[in-house]
Every structure is written in structure tokens, then in C-alpha cells.
């Protein structure tokens, strides 16, 4: 056996290639049935199930559904040092949480649909200012 093969076990942990798949949820094609001005919250919950996110938006609300199907290849090279571990990492990621954002009015009627990366299509939080009513006393 060549000496290099004897060294291979010593190299483990120095150079590592990894393939990681991460899967959760799937976009239902049936969401195309949902039309702003026609669908209401019951229709949306029936087609899309429970949302990931619910927030107040004006007099209504914004609901978001998301899914991820991520495959990542990575290479890591690390060198043990006296004072710790130095490492370089390369990762090619085509990932992120894609989803749907649905906007509802005060009567739970669907008014708008946005599709894309949730980080990009979710509106910033817009909670209404409220009067604080103190108990009479």
C-alpha cells in the first residue's frame, strides 16, 4: 500500500465536501384559483392550509405562506492550529423561503396576492396606533 493511503485517515476533517438537501412544504398549484375581489379567508385557508405568518395591516390583515426546497453543495478546508482552527468555506446555495403573501380587507375579502421571496414581498409591519383606555376609577 502506498504511504499516501496511510495518511488519508489523518486528513479526514481537513477537506470535506458536503451535499445537503433541505425540503419542507410545496407550493400548491391550486392557489391560482384564488382571485382578489372574489376569494375570502375561508377559500384561502382551504386551498393553502394554515399560514406561516399573520399580521394586522390597516383595517385588515396580511397572511403569508412559505416553502423551501434547498440543495447545497459545499467544500470546507480546515487546518488545525495551536490556538484553534482556521478554515475556508465555499458554498453554492440556490435557496431561500419562497412564498405567497395575501392581503385581506376588514371583511376578510382577498384584495391582493404577492408571490416571491418572502423577505422581499412581505410588507413591513404596520400596526395601528391604539387608544389606551384606562379603567374608570
Amino acid at each position: 500500500m502506498r504511504p499516501i493511503l496511510l495518511l488519508l485517515p489523518l486528513l479526514s476533517g481537513c477537506l470535506t465536501g458536503t451535499y445537503t438537501s433541505w425540503h419542507t412544504y410545496q407550493e400548491p398549484a391550486s392557489f391560482l384559483r384564488l382571485r382578489p375581489g372574489e376569494a375570502d379567508l375561508d377559500d384561502c385557508l382551504e386551498v393553502l392550509g394554515a399560514p406561516l405568518y399573520v399580521r394586522e395591516q390597516g383595517d385588515g390583515a396580511v397572511l403569508a405562506w412559505g416553502w423551501a426546497d434547498e440543495r447545497r453543495f459545499g467544500v470546507t478546508f480546515s487546518i488545525p492550529l495551536d490556538s484553534g482552527n482556521a478554515s475556508l468555506t465555499y458554498q453554492d446555495t440556490a435557496a431561500g423561503l419562497d412564498g405567497l403573501v395575501l392581503v385581506f380587507d376588514a371583511d376578510w375579502r382577498l384584495t391582493a396576492i404577492r408571490r416571491g421571496r418572502l423577505a422581499e414581498v412581505l410588507p413591513s409591519s404596520q400596526s395601528r396606533a391604539r387608544l389606551i383606555e384606562e379603567p374608570a376609577g
Binding site: L8, G17, T18, H23, T24, A50, V54
Partner: protein, 126 residues
């Protein structure tokens, strides 16, 4: 033994240094399907929902209305580690329920996605 055979056997020997990993993690309590089915819009109250499902993971104020979120997550991970290469697959599935209430605290809408039991061990994904 020819040099080619020696090389092939040496490469084959590398795979003897492999190891495997299977792990499962869960967060929050499972959501009983019967409890979800016992929630009826226009009838069930917030107190009855609390009695059925316990304390929610999140309460959202929607004007004078509100919504409760319940979830239960199962993550299954499978891994194969060779000397210079590793494969890892993670499947995360969730039971998630949102219940919406009117100003009087009566259920108006309920949405459930129950998929936690579908989590699988898989190295390469679907």
C-alpha cells in the same frame, strides 16, 4: 495482484471508514386532529380553544379581533460521512393551526396544515 487491482482495492477500502447518522428532533407538543376537528366557526369560543389545545404559540391582535397559532415541528436528518465527502438530507415538516376570532372571542375561521407525520429520512431529498 496487478497495480490496477491494488488501486481499486485501496479506493474500496476508503468506504470502510464511513459512518452514518440518523436523527429526529421535535418542537412543541403534537396537535391532536380530533381537537382541531372539534373547533367550529360561529360556535367555539376562545376559552374552549384553550381548553382543547392549551396555550397557543403565538397570539396576534388584528384590530379588535385576534388569532391564535399552534404548531408542532418534526425534523428528520440522515447523513453519510465518508473520509472526504459527506451527504446530509434534512426533512422538516410541521403541523400548524391558525384560529381566528371575532371581537367577542368566537371562532370565525380556522386553517390547519397537518404534515408533521410526513417527515422522512432521506439523503438526497425528494
Amino acid at each position: 495482484m496487478t497495480p490496477l487491482m491494488q488501486r481499486l482495492l485501496s479506493l474500496l477500502g476508503l468506504f470502510l471508514f464511513s459512518s452514518c447518522l440518523l436523527s429526529q428532533s421535535e418542537s412543541y407538543a403534537p396537535i391532536p386532529t380530533q381537537s382541531v376537528q372539534a373547533i367550529h366557526p360561529g360556535v367555539t369560543t376562545a376559552q374552549e380553544v384553550l381548553d382543547l389545545l392549551g396555550a397557543p404559540n403565538e397570539v396576534v391582535q388584528l384590530g379588535h379581533r385576534s388569532a391564535f397559532r399552534y404548531d408542532h415541528t418534526v425534523e428528520k436528518q440522515a447523513g453519510l460521512f465518508l473520509i472526504l465527502f459527506a451527504l446530509r438530507g434534512v426533512d422538516v415538516q410541521q403541523d400548524r393551526v391558525w384560529i381566528f376570532f371575532d371581537e367577542e372571542g368566537v371562532v370565525t375561521h380556522a386553517g390547519a396544515t397537518l404534515q408533521a407525520k410526513d417527515a422522512e429520512y432521506s439523503l438526497m431529498g425528494d
